[in-house]
Structure formats: C-alpha cells, structure tokens
Amino acid sequence: MILIGLGYGCKNGAATAALASDAAKRVYVAPGEKDEVYAFLSGGFSGQMSVYGIPSTRLFKIIPVFSVFPENGYGYDEETKNMLRTTHGYVPWDDSHHIEASMTDGKQDGRWLFLNANNTPRLARIDLRSFETKEIIEIPNSAGNHASPFATENTEYLMAATRFSVPIPQASVPIENFSKGDFKGTVSMVKVDPKSGRLSLELQILVPGFDYDLSHCGKGKSHDWCFFTSYNSEQAYKMIEVGASKNDKDYILAFNWVRAKQCLDQGKASNFGGEYYRNYLPENQPAISEKLSGVKMLQPKDCPGVMYYMPTPKSPHGTDVDPTGEYIVGGGKLATVIPVHSFSKLMEVKDKPEHRSGTIMDIPILKYESTLAGEVKKPCLGPLHTEFDGKGYAYTSCFVSSEVVKWELGTWEVEQHLPAYYSVGHLSIVGGSSKDPYGKYLIALNKITKDRYLPVGMELPQSAQLYDISGGKAELLSDFPTVGEPHYSQMIPAKLLMDKAAKIYPLEENKHPYAIKNEKDARVVREGNTVRVYMTQIRSHFKPDTIEVRSGDTVFFHVTNLEQDFDIPHGFAVGGAPEMPNLLIMPGQTRTFKWKAPKPGIYPFYCTDFCSALHQEMQQYIRVLP
C-alpha cells in the first residue's frame, strides 16, 4: 500500500477502495437461505478443489481431485485408487492450479469443471451433477503442466502447455544444453467428447524451449485461436530469477488450433513416443485405468500459419481474452504497462513480412506495435491476470503492489485501485473468463494473509477477498480463509447448477460388479485365501454383521449403501486397518475396502457418519481366526 502511495498513487488511491458501509448485510445469507453463486477454488498445493457459497463465503465441500482424501477414502479404495495412477506409478498428490468451466458458445454450461495438475502433468474432469472427479488424463512429453486446462469456445478442446521445457523425448543431457536448443516445450490438444465429457489426447505441437505459463482461448471472431504466455525466452538455466528477466519482451504465442487440426487431418503430424495413463470413473463402478502409448506430434514448420509470436513486455504471466474476443490482455509480471493486443490487427498483419522481426523454430515473430491495441500505462506493480465484467471494464490483479485495478477497455484508463490483502495472484469474476460475464462479484485470490486473522503458528491460511463490482465503484465486502492456496477459481451462478445436483445413486442403476441390492444377498465368499464380503448398510445396521476370516487372508469388503435418501451416506472403518482410512459410501453406491487380515483377534468395524438415533449401534465385529 505504501508503494502505491509513493510511486503509483494514481488519482483515486488505495484508500478510496474502502469496505462497503453495509458490507455485513450484503454477505449475510440467513439460515435456510441459499447463496447466489458457487465459487470453485483450486487448492494449489492441496491438490483439491473447494466449493464456497458467494456472497456468504461459507465452505460447502472439498472435492478431492489429485490428492488422496482420508475423509471419504478417495484414492485409497479399490474403486478410486486407479484415478491416481500415472506412468510414474501411483502419485497421491499434486499441485492444482487452474479451474476451467465447460462452455457452450463461450458461455458457462454447468456440465463440467476441469483442473490441471502442475507437478505430474495431468488434467482432471469434475462432474457438476455429483461434484466428483470422474476422469484424469496424464499429459506425456510434458514437464510441469502449468498452462492448462484452457477450453475453446465450445469445449471442443482443452489446451495444455508445459511449464518446464525438457528434452523431448526425455534424455539425460547436460543442463547447459538448455540454451543450445536441446530442451523443448509442447502444446497439447485434449479433445473433450461433447456428450460424455471423455478426454482424449489428439495432438501435440513441439514448441521452442521456453517456459509456458498460461493460456486463454478466443471467443467469437477469435474462436479458432488460443494464446499462451511464455517467459524465459533467454533460455536461462541458472539463477533463473535473474537470467530469465533480461529481455525487455518475451512472447504471447498465438496458436491457431483449427489450423493445427487441419494439418493433423492432412497427415502433417508424425507418430511420436510418449506413454500416459487415462483413468476414468464410470458411474458407480470401479475406475478404469488404461495405459496408452504414442501421440501425434506436429512441428510448426510443417504447418505454416499455425503459430505466431507476439512480443509482450516483460515476462508475461496472464493472457486473457475479453468477452468480445477482440482484446488479448497480457500481464507482464515485471512490466510497467498492461499491454493489450488486438485480434483484428493480428489477423491483418500476421502474414505480411514487413510486420515480422524474425522467426523461432519457423514460428514468425511479429512486431510489438503491429498487433498492439493499446497499453494501460503505469497501472500498478506486477500486473498478472485480467478478468472482465461484461460492461466494458477489465480488472487486473497486481502481485507486487497487492491490488486489483479496474480499467476501461478502449480508453485504457485506470478507474479504480482496490487494495488486496496480500499478494494477489489470480482473480475471478462470476463468468468473467467467458463470453457472458455475470459480473456482480469479484474475488481476489491472495497468497499471503499476514495480519488478517488470529495467528495459528507460523503458517496462516491463505485467503480470498470478495468485492461487489455491480455498482460504479467496486467495494470490498469480506475476506475469508481458504483450503490450500486459492490459486484460480471459476464462479458459476447457483441457478445453473443447484437444481440438477444429484441426490442419490439410484440402486437400480448400480452396475458395480460386487454390488448387492438387498440384504438377503449379503454373504461371505471364500476363494482360496481371498475372502469377499458382500455387505449392505442401511440405518442403522450392516449385513452380514458378524464375520470370520483367517489371519493372512486378503479380505475385500464390498459395501453397498442401500439408502435411497438424500444426504445419507454411511461410513465404514475397521479398527487398526493400516492402509485404509474412512470410506464414505453414498446412497446407492458400492465401495470396496481391501484388508489383510492381521493377527488373530476381534476387530470392530463401524459407521463413521452419524446417521440416526441408533448410529452408535451401527457397529459389528470381525473375528480373525489363527
């Protein structure tokens, strides 16, 4: 804030962005009333996604995606552990960054959310009926899947580009070869089946060895294009924080995905190596994990017109496309301007030699001024990400000066500075990355909390801040602690989701191979040293309720919850079971607990989710015989 006051004390100043006078009233959602908006926040290093209500900022749910979740058994049970399978083996954690909402005609359609895993390159699809992770696909020939998963206008494809360039295919080469061109990046096109949402890797494009940071795809007239930021065009490999910050401009890569697909169809891509897993969780059946091999790889030189570089100051981070599809806003994290490229100008100049200043790997580099629509001058320090309100204004987060600036598209004039507490990364407006922003709420997703909450040891929760942007001036309403790092968010109007949220898994549709649909089928079946327990749960008992196995047996508890009532999952936990946390089994669902029968004795098992007046009686015994 002091920095703003000194160097960037623009006309309004931070002090005017005060808390709204009736802020408490505007975030208060009375008991029994519901919020107006769902906010889905990625969890950063928690690997998960959390669901909040806006404006109350109440936390409703954590959806496990890339990290195991002992609360409900995700990643542990026989049904979901294959979801976390990769070519590196079972990877039970990741770093989840960007949430993308599925779109039809550029507008949120409430079907799916997508999330990237940054560390072990993966993409996930979360179903918005069940609010559960249904598919995870690994991205081969990639190291650090940061610039993903950004969807095209009709969710035809998700884009994924590599953060860390590496030798592709992988090889142990001297690291100094990075600057000799031995390292490369890839852009991946992951196809989304429009009906089922199923993911498949259709094409990869080999790109220069920079670090690819973020992306956003076009809308309307720019439908065919996606835009990726890259930094470290210096190809520094030592002391990168200095080495990668030398060039005055790095690049936004303009990528014509329709052209890439055309080149694929014309046979211009070649077979390339790369192994990857695709894990899919069919409704109420165990996850199916497939190991796939080989991709189609396209070289930019074989597909003229597929890519162009737009120089962008300086170490650009965010690249955001306005609702009309005309403006591509760069966030140069070390820049003193917010550069805005014009899509129309890009189209006009891209193939005219006089507008080029060179090529990299046969990708033309255009001149900065040739595609420039305008610059927001001295907006703040460290501009990163921009979202749009649909009313002609853009909001850009500024990491270094900890603020959000509101500015006008076209005039490039700053309208307002909003302080953020502290170090804001992404920001999110309801529908703000779509063609049709709902434009009422904005949240700033902050990296540091410092003095905002009661201290709880060295680490504080990271936080998000809620602003009302419906009026002329944006107003701060509240801030709230988050689960993990609230990296990016998609906010969706509640009316698009709430009525179609699933309440139960219908028993008659349960296709699990070990499901039983009524108690009379409950039984214990021995197959050599393997014992299968076909078990049911209903308030407030299990069947079978007394079980005998032998020490050393491998026991599978196939537990079906017979309830068909909303909000009545049952829990299942066995005393001392070393590799299994709790299971939560949804109404009508079957899940499987694998257990190596330990030394002889009596082992209790019980329901962990308080289910009825006789919940405490929902307990039984397993006897382990010698």
């Binding site: 029994g32 028993l507 209903i538 008992h541």
Partner: protein, 148 residues
C-alpha cells in the same frame, strides 16, 4: 414446504428432533388411536386408492422392490428396525401405507399414528426413492402377504 425442506436438509439429526417432538406431543395429550385416526389417509401425495381383487403381477413387482428397499428394516412376523408388517393392510388404509412409503418424513411430523410409531421405534423411516406406481405395487404385495 419450506419447513419440510429444512427438515430434509437436516435429515441426519431429524430423527432425534422428531422423536422429541413426538414425545412432547405425547406428554401433553397422547392421541388415542381413535376411529378417525385408524381411518386416516395420512399426509402425502396419495388421496385415494381403489382396491380391486389381488393383482398377482403387481404383487410380484412389489415383492422385488420390497426386498431391495424395505426388507433391510421390515419383516412380517417380528419387529426389527421398523414394525412387523403382518396385518398392516388391516390396520391402515391403503392411502396411509402409500403415503408412509412416499412421504415418511412429513408423515412422522404431522400424522399422529406415524408420530407414535417413531416414538416407539426411534428410527426415522427413510424415503427410498420409490415412485408412486412402485408404492402401489408394494401395497399389493403387502395385501398378498396379509391374505396368506
């Protein structure tokens, strides 16, 4: 409907609350199972059922649904979690039985007989996602069992 929605929302603790409601109600004035309450049609979507001669096909479908969705808590000859069902079609009207299957939470809030049953058994009967036509088939199965 707002109250009902809220109770459903808090479904996990509702049995306790409802139990208390039922008890306090009983404490004030225990509703006798009068002629009129025996003839009660209960509270719910079913206001009128015409019974014909026993339909074997319907009863058979009802049996399958009963086994999947009801038998975990109900036997005919003995109380388990819920009451024994032998003779239920003589004790209750067809409408009451179907409403209890289709609308158990509101029944235990508003219907005096259902309230008494909750106070006795202390486990909220669950809605098992049974459609109205299926409830009618289960009723037919219960009739068949009572004719044995």
């Amino acid at each position: 409907m707002k109250i009902i929605k809220n109770i459903i929302k808090f479904g996990k603790i509702a049995p306790v609350l409802l139990g208390l409601i039922a008890f306090s109600y009983c404490g004030k004035e225990k509703p006798a199972e009068t002629e009129s309450s025996v003839a009660s049609k209960g509270v719910g979507p079913v206001s009128s059922v015409t019974l014909g001669t026993l339909n074997e096909g319907m009863a058979q479908k009802g049996k399958l649904n009963f086994e999947t969705k009801c038998s975990a808590c109900h036997k005919f000859e003995e109380k388990v979690v819920g009451p024994a069902l032998k003779g239920v079609t003589e004790r209750r009207t067809p409408e009451w039985i179907m409403n209890m299957i289709l609308n158990p939470i509101e029944m235990t809030q508003k219907d005096p007989i259902a309230q008494e049953l909750l106070a006795e058994h202390l486990t909220q009967m669950t809605f098992q996602n049974v459609q109205e036509s299926e409830a009618r088939e289960i009723l037919e199965y219960l009739r068949k069992m009572d004719k044995k």
